[in-house]
C-alpha cells in the first residue's frame, strides 16, 4: 500500500470515528423529550433530574456541549460515569483486559480451527470431510453463542468439573489459571466465527483449485504440501483475511453476551450495567471504543492485502 493510499484510508477511518461520536452525541439529544428525564427514569424526583442535567452539562448551549465532548476525544477523555463519577476512560481501561483476552483467544481458536477445517474441506470437495465440515459450520453459525456457553458449562464444568464455570483470572495469577478460565468463554465466542471462517476458507480454496495456474503447477510436478503451501493457501488467504477483519466487530459484540454467561466483568458487563443504570456516558464511551477497534482492524486488513497479494499493492 503506498503512502497516499494509506493516508486516504487513515483520513477515512478518522472520519468514521468522528461520525460515530457525533451519532452517540446526537442519539440521546434527538430522542423526543428531555434527555435528563429520560435517563433518570419515570419514577425520578425533580432533584434527581436536575442533578443529571448538571452532571451532563445539559444546561449549556448544545454547541458548547458538543465542543466539550469532542475536545476530550483525542485525549481519551470520554466524560464521567453518572453512576460512580469515575472517568469513563478509566472504567473502560480497567474492563478491557478481560474482554480483550477472551476476544483474542476466541480469534485464535476461530482462526486455527476455521482455517484448518476450511482447507481440509476445500481440498476434499464433495468428500465426507467436506460434508462434515460444511454441516458443522452451518449449524455453528445458527447456534446462539450464549447457549453454546450454557451447554459447555453444563458438560465441562457442572457434570464433569474440569474447567471453571465462571470468572476471569488476570495474568498476574499465573498463565495456567488465566488460560483455564479463558477456554470455555473463548470457545463459546469463537464457534460462530470459526464456522464463518471455515466456510470462506473452503470457498477460497475451492476457487483457487479451479484456476489454470494450479493445473500448470501440477503439470510442472508440484504436488502435495508444496502445491498447497506455495499456491493454494497464499491465494485463498485473501477472502479469509477479509472475513477475519469483518468478524472483529462480531467478536466484540459477542463478548457482551458471553461475559454475562460466564460472569466475567469486562467491557460487555460494563456496557449492560450501564444500560440498566441508564449511565449513558459509559455506554457512549463503549460504542466509540468498539468503533475504534473495528476501524483499526479494517485498516490492518487493508494493509495485510498488499503483503499477501502483490496485485493489490498498486490498486
Amino acid at each position: 500500500m503506498n503512502l497516499a493510499r494509506l493516508l486516504r484510508r487513515l483520513a477515512s477511518a478518522v472520519l468514521v470515528i468522528w461520525l460515530v461520536h457525533l451519532l452517540t452525541f446526537l442519539l440521546i439529544r434527538l430522542v423526543p423529550g428531555d434527555p435528563a428525564q429520560l435517563l433518570a427514569g419515570e419514577r425520578a424526583t425533580p432533584d434527581e433530574v436536575l442533578r443529571i442535567r448538571e452532571q451532563l452539562g445539559l444546561e449549556d448551549p448544545v454547541l458548547l456541549q458538543y465542543a466539550r465532548s469532542l475536545g476530550g476525544l483525542p485525549r481519551g477523555d470520554l466524560g464521567e460515569s453518572m453512576f460512580s463519577g469515575l472517568p469513563v476512560g478509566r472504567l473502560l481501561a480497567d474492563a478491557a483486559p478481560a474482554t480483550l483476552s477472551v476476544a483474542l483467544m476466541a480469534l485464535l481458536f476461530a482462526a486455527v480451527f476455521g482455517v484448518g477445517a476450511g482447507v481440509l474441506a476445500g481440498l476434499r470437495q464433495g468428500g465426507w470431510t467436506d460434508r462434515v465440515v460444511s454441516t458443522i459450520a452451518t449449524v455453528g453459525i445458527a447456534m446462539p453463542s450464549f447457549w453454546i456457553g450454557l451447554v459447555l458449562v453444563t458438560f465441562f464444568a457442572l457434570v464433569n468439573p474440569w474447567l471453571p464455570a465462571t470468572g476471569y483470572a488476570p495474568l498476574g495469577e499465573g498463565v495456567g489459571t488465566w488460560f483455564r478460565h479463558l477456554v470455555l468463554p473463548a470457545v463459546t465466542l469463537g464457534v460462530a466465527v470459526a464456522a464463518e471462517i471455515a466456510r470462506h476458507t473452503r470457498g477460497g480454496v475451492a476457487d483457487v483449485l479451479a484456476k489454470p495456474y494450479i493445473r500448470t503447477a501440477r503439470a510442472r510436478g508440484a504436488s502435495g504440501s508444496r502445491l498447497v503451501r506455495g499456491h493454494v493457501l497464499r491465494n485463498a488467504a485473501i477472502p479469509v483475511v477479509t472475513v477475519l477483519g469483518l468478524q472483529t466487530g462480531k467478536l466484540l459484540g459477542g463478548t457482551v453476551v458471553v461475559e454475562a454467561v460466564f460472569g466475567i466483568s469486562g467491557l460487555g458487563t460494563l456496557a449492560v450495567n450501564s444500560v440498566l443504570e441508564r449511565d449513558y456516558p459509559v455506554l457512549q464511551g463503549f460504542v466509540i471504543f468498539a468503533a475504534v477497534v473495528v476501524v483499526t482492524a479494517n485498516l490492518l486488513v487493508d494493509t495485510a492485502y498488499g503483503r499477501i497479494n502483490p496485485k493489490v499493492r498498486t490498486a
Binding site: V139, A142, P144, K250, A260, V272, L283
Partner: protein, 299 residues
C-alpha cells in the same frame, strides 16, 4: 441451476415487472429443489402454524404453576419436563414461538422501512443524498450490531418493543447496502431511461420499475436477516434487555434456565434447540435462495 432458466429470453421485454413475475415461480422452484431447503421451509411453516394455534396444541396452560413439581423430568404428562415454577416446558416453548417469530418480523419491518426507500433513492438518483447516506451506513456498520442496539436501548429503556426497533435500526444499513447496489444495476437499464423520458415520477419509477426487479436480492437478505434477528432478540432477552416477564421468548426462557443451571443443568436444552433449529432453517433457506438467484444471473 438450469431450472431457473425457465422463462425463455423472448418472454416479455427484459427486466419489465412482467418478466419478474414470471421468473419468481422458477426461482422458488429452483430454491426448493434441494431436500435441505424443503425441510427448512416445511419446518418454518409447521412452526408458524404451531405458534398461531398455540392454545389448541399446547398440552398445558404455559403459565400454570405447580410448585410441588419443579424441574420434573420428561414424562407423558410433561413431554419436556417442567421449569423452576413447575410450568410445562413444552407448552412454554410453543407459546414463546409467538414472540420469537413476531419479534424478527417487526425488526425487519423497521429495517426495511428505513433501508429500502433510502437505498432505492440513493441507487437511482445518486448525488448528495447517496454520498451522505452511504457515509452514514459505513459509520453505522463500523459499530458492532449488539453494541449499537445497546446504545438505542440505553436511550429508550429496556423493553421488547425497544429491542425490536433497535435491531431494526441496526438492520437498516445492511438493507440499504443491498438495495442501493441492486438499484444501481437496474438504473442502467434502458427501460428506466424510457420511463424517465415519458415523464414518470421518481416515485413511480422506483415502485413500478425498480422495486420488482430487485426483489430477488432483497428476499435473500431478508431471509438471512430473519435468522439474525431471532438470535439478536434472544441475546437481548437473555441479557434482560428484551422480553420482560411474564411474557416469554426462547431467549428469556434460556435466561431463566441459566439462573437455575446448578439445580437443573439440562433445562437449557429445549429453548436452545428451538432457537438453533429455527435460525438454521432461515439460514439454509437464505443460502439456497442466494444460490438460486446467483444461478439465475449466471445464465
Amino acid at each position: 441451476m438450469s431450472v431457473v432458466a425457465t422463462p425463455p429470453a423472448t418472454a416479455g421485454t427484459p427486466g419489465t415487472p412482467e418478466r419478474a413475475r414470471r421468473r419468481r415461480p422458477g426461482l422458488l422452484r429452483s430454491m426448493l429443489s434441494g431436500p435441505s431447503a424443503v425441510a427448512a421451509a416445511a419446518y418454518l411453516v409447521l412452526l408458524a402454524a404451531l405458534a398461531v394455534a398455540a392454545p389448541l396444541v399446547a398440552p398445558h396452560d404455559p403459565n400454570a404453576q405447580d410448585l410441588f413439581n419443579r424441574f420434573a423430568g420428561m414424562s407423558a404428562e410433561h413431554p419436556l419436563g417442567t421449569d423452576d415454577f413447575g410450568r410445562d416446558v413444552a407448552s412454554r416453548v410453543i407459546y414463546a414461538a409467538r414472540i420469537s417469530l413476531l419479534a424478527p418480523l417487526i425488526s425487519l419491518a423497521v429495517g426495511m422501512a428505513i433501508g429500502v426507500p433510502a437505498g432505492l433513492l440513493a441507487g437511482l438518483r445518486r448525488g448528495w443524498f447517496d454520498a451522505v447516506a452511504d457515509r452514514l451506513s459505513d459509520t453505522l456498520l463500523s459499530i458492532p450490531a449488539i453494541v449499537f442496539a445497546l446504545a438505542i436501548i440505553a436511550v429508550m429503556g429496556p423493553s421488547l418493543t425497544t429491542a425490536m426497533v433497535a435491531i431494526g435500526i441496526v438492520f437498516a444499513p445492511h438493507l440499504f447496502r443491498v438495495v442501493r447496489g441492486a438499484t444501481m444495476v437496474v438504473a442502467e437499464e434502458t427501460y428506466i431511461s424510457s420511463a424517465e423520458a415519458i415523464g414518470a415520477s421518481t416515485r413511480r419509477i422506483l415502485l413500478v420499475h425498480v422495486l420488482p426487479n430487485i426483489r430477488a436480492p432483497l428476499l435473500v437478505q431478508v431471509t438471512l436477516l430473519m435468522g439474525f434477528a431471532l438470535l439478536a432478540e434472544a441475546s437481548l432477552s437473555f441479557l434482560g434487555l428484551g422480553v420482560q416477564p411474564p411474557e416469554a421468548s426462547w431467549g428469556s426462557m434460556l435466561k431463566a434456565a441459566y439462573e437455575n443451571q446448578f439445580e437443573a443443568p439440562y433445562s437449557v436444552l429445549p429453548s436452545g434447540v428451538a432457537i438453533l433449529l429455527t435460525v438454521l432453517a432461515f439460514n439454509v433457506l437464505g443460502d439456497r435462495l442466494r444460490d438460486a438467484v446467483a444461478g439465475g444471473r449466471a445464465r
